[in-house]
């Protein structure tokens, strides 16, 4: 299937990503995929399914089993003029590559005073809710968002998945691309005819009573919560941030100026997490508009729990609604 034909069709997020990657490879011969099991197997989630068959082993590379090596060699490929797309098999396995990401990928453009570009995309299936064992359900975005030189984005629906992965790859800056793995096979959705700018947030449900901002895996939870709250007469405005770094603060602040209230939700642990940054900015930029403090509903400050407890740990519908209740009680 030629990728351009998917516009207007309905796809799962997994398929949309696959089509997006295929399109990126068609558009630019310098794009290479690399990672553990991305070739013959098509990745443990099959996101790169069929790409090695169609583009060859030189462009879809089953690497040795070492994440620092994957990202470190991607840096070298980038210096040679390639545009590597690394797959990290699961969120919890990105840490062996942390040094290469933070000290090399993020800094090389700056180190070279702009003379070297590092257009690497690091794809990370992230987040919980799939009943997995340890290290397979984490949300490491805050680590990367705190690192100057990196961009961090998360897709939440198939159309964004299709477009954003192409935008990330085409971007001359390094991008950490978060894929909410538990949404890979959720409801199909239509692929839009054109992309939204990569770092622009989107109001995905207008409302007046309060703003609910989130991204990635928890966007669907936020929409459910807005549905439930509406049934109770509370109209929530839901924002899909899409980009964790940079954050489109303006869209959030605009909304809060209208609603006076903000709840932020994500799966990453609470303390020093992304919601803290959003709270800090919003209370600074919309101080006089806030009728309540910015509240946060997130993963707890514990390691990701054994899967029998993950539903309690995750910011689920009940917890978000409870947060909204607390927010409205001010």
């Amino acid at each position: 299937m030629s990728a351009s034909s998917v516009i207007g069709t309905s796809l799962t997020m997994a398929k949309a990503l696959n089509e997006g990657l295929r399109k990126a490879m068609e558009d630019d011969p310098k794009v290479v995929m690399m990672g553990e099991d991305v070739g013959k197997l098509g990745g443990v989630f099959r996101i790169t399914d069929g790409l090695q068959k169609d583009f060859g082993e030189d462009r879809v590379i089953d690497t040795p089993l070492a994440e620092s090596g994957i990202v470190g060699t991607a840096v070298g490929l980038a210096i040679r003029g390639y545009r590597p797309v690394c797959e990290i098999q699961f969120d919890g396995f990105v840490f062996p590559a942390f040094d290469q990401i933070v000290s090399q990928v993020a800094k090389l453009h700056n180190r070279s005073a702009g003379q070297v570009k590092v257009p690497i995309t690091i794809r990370i299936p992230y987040g919980g809710g799939i009943g997995a064992v340890e290290h397979h359900s984490e949300s490491p975005e805050a680590y990367f968002a705190h690192t100057a030189g990196l961009k961090v984005v998360a897709c939440a629906d198939p159309s964004d998945a299709y477009w954003m992965v192409q935008q990330a790859i085409a971007d001359d800056d390094p991008v950490i691309f978060l894929e909410p793995k538990r949404r890979y096979h959720a409801a199909k959705a239509e692929i839009a005819a054109a992309p939204t700018p990569l770092h622009q947030a989107r109001v995905i449900r207008p409302g007046t009573a309060a703003t609910l901002a989130t991204y990635g895996a928890t966007v669907s939870v936020a929409l459910e919560a807005a549905e439930a709250a509406a049934a109770d007469g509370t109209q929530l405005e839901v924002i899909d941030l899409r980009s964790v770094s940079p954050i489109d603060t303006e869209t959030v602040v605009d909304s809060v100026r209208r609603t006076g209230r903000l709840l932020v939700t994500h799966e990453a642990p609470l303390s020093f997490g992304p919601a803290a940054e959003i709270a800090a900015r919003v209370q600074e930029q919309a101080f006089y508009s806030l009728e309540a403090p910015v509240l946060r509903v997130t993963g707890y400050d514990t390691p990701y729990p054994p899967s029998r407890l993950e539903n309690e740990w995750l910011p689920n519908l009940d917890r978000v609604l409870d947060g909204i209740d607390r927010l409205m009680s001010y």
């Binding site: 040795p64 054994p306 899967s307």
Partner: protein, 373 residues
């Protein structure tokens, strides 16, 4: 003890003491020193851990486990190594060493909890001298190395006292051999002449990647460049696995330093219950390896050469059925952890802010129960 013949090794340089056909072979450097009764005991181990594995796969299919990483085909490497350990030795497993866990006295149900999602590793490492499963590839090899540093500092090496001298056994896979951590562990072990044995189960595959993706030379050769010996053993031969590991552990205890053992074996099942190997390997490969089955050859030896009869095998079959029953019933009965245990054991001393988070959580969960009551 039956007559021994020296057979041709199926792979050059691979140490074998029992052929796939069940014939005992001698190796000058690795005398076996086991009675037929001992060998019958190893046979029992092999059968029972395979049964646990079979049950676990079934339980996963029935939705009782979230996942299972099968050891099918690797029983001999694990039981051989596991039985070579002395009680006070310490072992550091990956996520697939169910056979070693068995040798270390870990209840299979505790293991299942991890794959069921009721715990993250329920046993006490110090009680069993068996560390928790480590999922991040290779990380445990450094833990094992550090533990061995502790052994040296405790003066528990090279004293000649068998109840004191302690060895450490670190497991890892062929895929893991590429990780920086594993190679750093080699650096440390060599530089410190540490009492550690690195046991690489080369089961030919790292999920979909054949071992050739990791190395173009046999993995046992890796250690020489770090300054310590390496050897390849037939990992489907429980006797060779036992003898070679015991020898290396003895060397470690006697302050002879580290050894790398490559146990040449095969992962006969998918990587985990989530995996579909039809996408990346030929069925014929599996067929070849079935001929080298780690259990069949011991059974052949015991019945043909050591005079064990159907009674013995039936008794073990019986025990195996009982174990299966224990595993099935026990797994279903594993209690879910309580919600508030989320906050337990994050710290030895729970910080006030986390306590507040827990208290809010408990209150919230209570309010939900109330609402739904």
């Amino acid at each position: 003890m039956s007559e021994h013949v020296v057979a041709v090794q199926p792979e050059p340089d691979m140490i074998q003491l029992l052929t796939p056909e069940g014939q005992r072979v001698d190796h000058p450097d690795y005398p076996l020193g086991l009675s037929d009764e001992d060998i019958a005991g190893l046979y029992r181990d092999l059968v029972l851990v395979r049964r646990i594995d079979t049950e676990a796969i079934a339980l996963q299919r029935q939705g009782e486990l979230g996942l299972w990483a099968s050891l099918l085909g690797q029983e001999a490497a694990q039981i051989g190594a596991g039985r070579a350990l002395r009680p006070h030795d310490m072992a550091f497993p990956t996520y697939r060493e169910h056979g070693v866990a068995w040798c270390r006295g870990v209840d299979p149900l505790t293991l299942l909890g991890l794959f069921r999602g009721t715990n993250l590793g329920g046993w006490s490492p110090s009680e069993h001298n068996f560390n928790l499963y480590t999922i991040v590839i290779g990380a445990q090899t450094l833990h094992a190395t550090g533990y061995a540093m502790g052994v040296v500092r405790d003066g528990a090496v090279g004293t000649g006292d068998p109840d004191r001298d302690t060895a450490v056994l670190a497991f890892f896979g062929d895929g893991a051999s590429s990780q920086g951590d594993v190679n750093e562990a080699f650096v440390w072990a060599a530089a410190g002449n540490l009492p550690i044995v690195f046991l690489c189960q080369n089961n030919q595959w790292a999920i979909s990647e054949p071992v050739e993706r990791q190395s173009r030379v046999p993995l046992y050769q890796r250690s020489a460049g770090f300054g310590f010996p390496g050897m390849r053993v037939d990992g489907n031969d429980v006797l060779a696995s036992y003898a070679v590991t015991r020898r290396a552990l003895d060397d470690a205890r006697n302050a002879q330093g580290p050894t790398l053992i490559e146990a040449f074996t095969y992962r006969m099942n998918p990587h985990t219950t989530n995996d579909d190997p039809r996408r990346y390997r030929l069925g014929s490969e599996l067929e070849t390896w079935k001929l080298r089955d780690p259990i069949e050859r011991v059974r052949a030896y015991l019945s043909r050469e050591a005079g064990y009869g159907s009674d013995y095998f039936a008794a073990i079959e019986d025990e195996s059925k009982k174990l299966a029953e224990h595993v099935r019933a026990g797994c279903r009965a594993l209690p879910d952890p309580t919600p508030q245990s989320l906050f337990d054991s994050v710290y030895v001393t729970m910080p006030a802010e986390l306590r507040a988070q827990r208290d809010e959580f408990v209150e919230f969960v209570g309010s939900l129960e109330e609402a739904s009551a």
